[in-house]
């Protein structure tokens, strides 16, 4: 597949990117509209010496992904809303044990069973806060099969670099859309390898971080005899039930991300230089927003767009910077206000934020976004 051009579905592009990233384990459970990722992985993994396993539910899928990643295999799962809810339990375990892995959510409309075959962007805050306790997360989004391919590679690299589950928050339309996807030759795909300690077992502590606050890992079965737990733990990985150790652990889980926001956050600016109004869009909503931007420009409105690739951590600095130069932000999203709240928070009263909401089941008509741009 490498070094060639393809006409493939977003879900398939995601699976191919996982294979190209070195993913060799997939545990999943069928769910519309993410099933095609599992199907592609079931076909492709054995060809490259990997294993696909269909688990009994998404609780088990996520747990198996963590186990396999600890065992040294780059691992992934893919799901949609109802399964994402079940995965929250072990996403939390992945955060606390610091296990590199990738979780794809091909969003459909909820709550509950909702609209299984139709799109939404309703899980953006669930991605941020869905598992209990306070933590930082990395979540990426994509507006086309090509972009889904690219962010999947990025997701694997970030998960290894920062040792955590990285979420890919795409949606039904991108997942099921068939478009041209260029898969670069393998020597042009940058792979971040697992950070493995150089220390011998007697000197190694599983949760003693390097300077960037991330601790290197070890191979299982190599005599390091590590312990890893979902309980609050010290540098040895041993449980300690106390407020000071909780503070040490949470500080590190939070600041290993916060201190590296500039490395993690990726966005694209389109015609923002002279813009008075900026559309902030992500995922499928980028595409009608692009059309709305063109229509607005035709009408002489100085409109630009900020396309978010990284959703979490949020592009705070960029929004703050733009807020002082523009009149307002227009945020189209297929929910009743999630990322728009972040835009509003970061603009801190310097610019107006208008939400263009959609309950889900369809994508925006560019005119709906244009109307909001014209109102500002």
């Amino acid at each position: 597949m490498e070094g060639t051009e393809h006409f493939i579905m977003g879900d398939v592009a995601c699976a191919e990117a996982a294979i190209a990233s070195g993913c060799r384990f997939f545990a999943g459970y069928p769910i519309t509209p993410a099933t095609e990722i599992a199907e592609r992985m079931a076909k492709r993994l054995p060809q490259v010496g990997g294993v696909y396993i269909q688990m009994e539910d998404e609780l088990a899928s996520m747990a198996a992904v963590l186990g396999a990643s600890w065992g040294g295999l780059k691992s992934m799962t893919a799901t949609s809303g109802p399964g994402f809810s079940l995965m929250m339990e072990n996403i939390g375990l992945g955060i606390v044990m610091e296990v590199p892995c990738v979780v794809v959510n091909v969003q459909r409309a909820g709550p509950s069973t909702g609209l299984p075959t139709l799109c939404a962007q309703g899980d953006m805050m669930q991605a941020r806060w869905g598992s209990h306790g306070h933590y930082e997360i990395i979540a990426l989004s994509a507006s086309s099969p090509q972009e889904l391919f690219d962010v999947t590679i990025k997701a694997f690299n970030l998960s290894e670099k920062y040792r955590l589950p990285v979420l890919i928050m795409t949606d039904e339309v991108v997942g099921h859309m068939t478009e041209k996807v260029i898969i670069p030759p393998s020597n042009r795909i940058e792979i971040y390898p697992r950070r493995i300690t150089k220390l011998p077992p007697e000197e190694y502590l599983p949760y003693l971080p390097d300077e960037d606050m991330v601790a290197p890992m070890v191979g299982i079965g190599e005599g390091y005899h590590i312990h890893s737990t979902g309980l609050t733990h010290d540098k040895k990985g041993y449980p300690v039930i106390s407020a000071p150790v909780q503070k040490d652990m949470i500080d590190r889980l939070v600041y290993k991300i916060r201190n590296n926001v500039d490395d993690i956050v990726e966005y694209r600016e389109i015609e923002t230089a002279d813009a008075e109004i900026i559309i902030v869009a992500y995922g499928i909503s980028v595409r009608p927003a692009q059309k709305a931007l063109e229509l607005a420009r035709e009408k002489g409105i100085k409109c630009g767009m900020l396309r978010l690739t990284t959703i979490w951590p949020f592009a705070e600095k960029k929004i703050m910077e733009l807020a002082s130069q523009v009149k307002g932000f227009v945020v189209p999203e297929i929910n009743y206000g999630q990322i728009s709240l972040e835009v509003e928070r970061c603009s801190a009263g310097h610019a107006k934020t208008i939400l263009v909401s959609h309950a889900g089941g369809a994508i925006f008509n560019p005119n709906e976004i244009l109307e909001a741009v014209e109102k500002l």
Partner: protein
């Protein structure tokens, strides 16, 4: 064998005979005085030693609860996971490390009440795991609530008038789901339990061992079963060894009869046997 271990360590006062497998820097453990988990844990460590398999080839995975803390005390690669999910975590680990012996060591509430679905599916897949269940009939960590293993009529903090639901027969469930090795022992059957664990390590496929244990602090006290010693002596007294019987007949009535023994020991293609048949290993795995 045990004598030999002790002799090996003679002249090292204060050293536990299995200290090389124990995280001694984590002692004292959290288990109550009189609790049986330590006995089962100790049998498991002895079995690891007696198996003559390189220690580095073992890893332990456990879930949540009193028994789940075992993974934190064994000096091997060990994982203390989420409630009920030790088996699927272990499934992923085993697939990544197919040559390693993966032990799942957890309690009845964890493995069979919240985690029951994972248990039956792992047995169905016949994936090569050794699952050791300390069955003390209750949720000990949270103070003794009813579980899917609590005997009919027994009192717990959430069944103050007695449990009106019927418990699982764990060996029967394991066998029905596809486990190739199934046994049950009480905590006074230390030698039989230890040899059974060694057998399970050497068994290809999904093996399951239930250990009838006491929780004097919660279950024992609420049901007026007497001292810790009274309880295990009672369990032992009413236990009968019936090797090879159909596990549906493995009666478990803590007032009258506890049937113990090895109920299933058979050969069947494992998850890996069948996987490799369809996809012969050509390419090396690796991150």
């Amino acid at each position: 064998m045990k004598k030999q271990i002790v002799e090996e360590l003679n002249g090292m006062p204060g050293t536990h005979p299995l200290s090389s497998l124990l995280r001694e820097d984590r002692m004292p453990h959290i288990w109550c005085p009189g609790c049986d988990i330590g006995t089962v844990f100790s049998s498991c460590l002895t079995a690891i030693h007696e198996s003559k398999i390189d220690y580095n080839n073992f890893a332990m995975v456990s879930g949540i609860g009193c028994t789940g803390r075992a993974a934190g005390y064994i000096k091997l690669d060990s994982f203390h996971t989420t409630h009920g999910r030790a088996i699927p975590f272990a499934t992923g680990l085993k697939i990544a490390k197919p040559k390693m012996k993966i032990i799942v060591f957890s309690g009845d509430g964890d493995l069979f009440t919240i985690g029951g679905n994972h248990f039956i599916h792992a047995a169905r897949r016949n994936i090569d795991l050794t699952v050791i269940c300390v069955n003390n009939f209750t949720y000990g960590m949270t103070g003794g609530q009813v579980a899917s293993t609590t005997p009919f009529n027994s009192k717990t903090s959430t069944t103050p008038q007695g449990n009106f639901e019927k418990p699982f027969n764990l060996p029967y469930m394991a066998a029905a789901a596809g486990a190739v090795y199934v046994s049950r022992w009480t905590t006074l059957d230390v030698r039989r339990l230890t040899s059974s664990i060694v057998e399970a390590f050497n068994k290809k496929g999904f093996s399951f061992i239930e250990v009838i244990s006491s929780c004097p602090t919660s279950f024992g006290r609420k049901n007026k079963l007497g001292s810790p010693l009274d309880i295990i002596q009672h369990f032992h007294k009413i236990s009968v060894i019936k090797n090879g019987i159909h596990p549906k007949d493995a009666n478990l009535d803590i007032d009258k009869e506890i049937v113990v023994g090895k109920f299933v020991d058979m050969e069947a293609p494992t998850f890996f046997d069948l996987l490799e048949k369809i996809y012969p290993p050509e390419t090396e795995k690796g991150a």
